[in-house]
């Protein structure tokens, strides 16, 4: 059954999808950053993917463009997942926000922003969520030094 849904999605988004593959039972699509908002709207309104599970990113330090922004969608009707990847460069790591479509994107985009430095165009509230005020840098980027500390309390001695 999931194959039929995947085939419908793949055919419906054929103009926008750069790569498509089924990995671990999930349809993985790669899109242009500019078409993310439109593709998400069609996934939600035409194909029944009514739930946004996750917004995260992957850092490929040697690759250009450097970042994958990864969205996971779930259809409670078909019970299948779709993973959407968009590639953004380090110089302008910006994609459109999905907050108007999915309220759950609000916190996940905040987390993605503080951890990877991805900017979400249209999300005005990108304050740190897990990190503290004054934290410099994006700790889940591969070039963030593993043992760098930014203590809030002065150390003894």
């Amino acid at each position: 059954m999931s194959d039929e849904v995947f085939e419908t999605v793949r055919a419906g988004l054929a103009g926008q999808v750069q790569e498509a593959a089924v990995a671990h039972g999930i349809l993985a699509l790669t899109l242009e950053p500019a078409s993310l908002g439109d593709a998400a709207r069609r996934l939600k309104e035409s194909f029944g993917f009514d739930m946004l599970l996750d917004v995260t990113a992957v850092d490929w330090p040697e690759r250009e463009p450097r970042f994958d922004v990864v969205h996971h969608f779930y259809s409670t009707q078909h019970r299948v997942r779709v993973r959407v990847k968009t590639r953004v460069p380090e110089s302008d790591p910006t994609v459109d926000t999905l907050v108007p479509l999915y309220g759950s994107a609000r916190y996940m985009e905040r987390e993605c922003h503080e951890m990877y430095g991805i900017r979400f165009r249209g999300n005005e509230d990108l304050r740190p969520l897990l990190l503290y005020e004054g934290f410099v840098g994006h700790p889940l980027r591969k070039d963030y030094p593993k043992q760098q500390e930014q203590p809030l309390v002065p150390y003894r001695k």
Partner: protein, 167 residues
């Protein structure tokens, strides 16, 4: 006619004890530890185990947790402390009255453990003085009891001079 008081009759073989002041104070302190459990992570499970019936830290006078730092004299830091949480830990420590002791319970509180990353404080001794480190991930209850007994020995051996440098 004046009644003379009856001569004193000793009621038992021992009427009084002699001891040294330092030993007496140390003995009193070591059996009245009031822990403040600063519990942040999975070591809490082992802390519950060591506090409850089977291992029972009450045998050492160290069972009754005081959930305000002002009434406690033993700070037990149980679990990982992050940089974001470090100011809270410092505030709790500063609110405790002297005399006070600190136990780093488990490897995360002692050294950061395997959390060598941007978030974790690499050992609480970076911000507050620690009297006793209990290693383990998590420590066995026997190790915690052994640690409490070592701390008690240390408290019992402390000196309390009457004449200090400020006197």
């Amino acid at each position: 006619m004046n009644a003379t008081p009856a001569p004193h009759q000793p009621s038992a073989a021992f009427e009084y004890l002699t001891t040294k002041k330092d030993e007496f104070v140390g003995w009193a302190r070591k059996f009245s530890l009031f822990p403040y459990p600063f519990v942040t992570a999975c070591c809490a499970m082992e802390f519950m185990s060591v506090s409850s019936t089977l291992y029972d830290t009450d045998r050492f006078g160290a069972a009754l947790p005081r959930f305000t730092p002002r009434q406690s004299d033993l700070l037990m830091v149980v679990g990982t402390v992050t940089h974001k949480q470090a100011p809270i830990l410092l505030k709790v420590y500063e609110q405790m009255c002297e005399p006070k002791w600190v136990i780093a319970f488990g490897v995360c509180a002692s050294s950061g453990g395997f959390y060598q990353n941007y978030a974790a404080l690499q050992g609480i001794d970076k911000i507050i003085p620690v009297d006793l480190y209990i290693p383990g991930c998590p420590p066995r209850p026997e190790m915690v009891i052994d640690g409490i007994m070592k701390l008690q020995d240390r408290i019992a051996r402390e000196r309390h001079p009457i004449i200090t440098k400020d006197f």
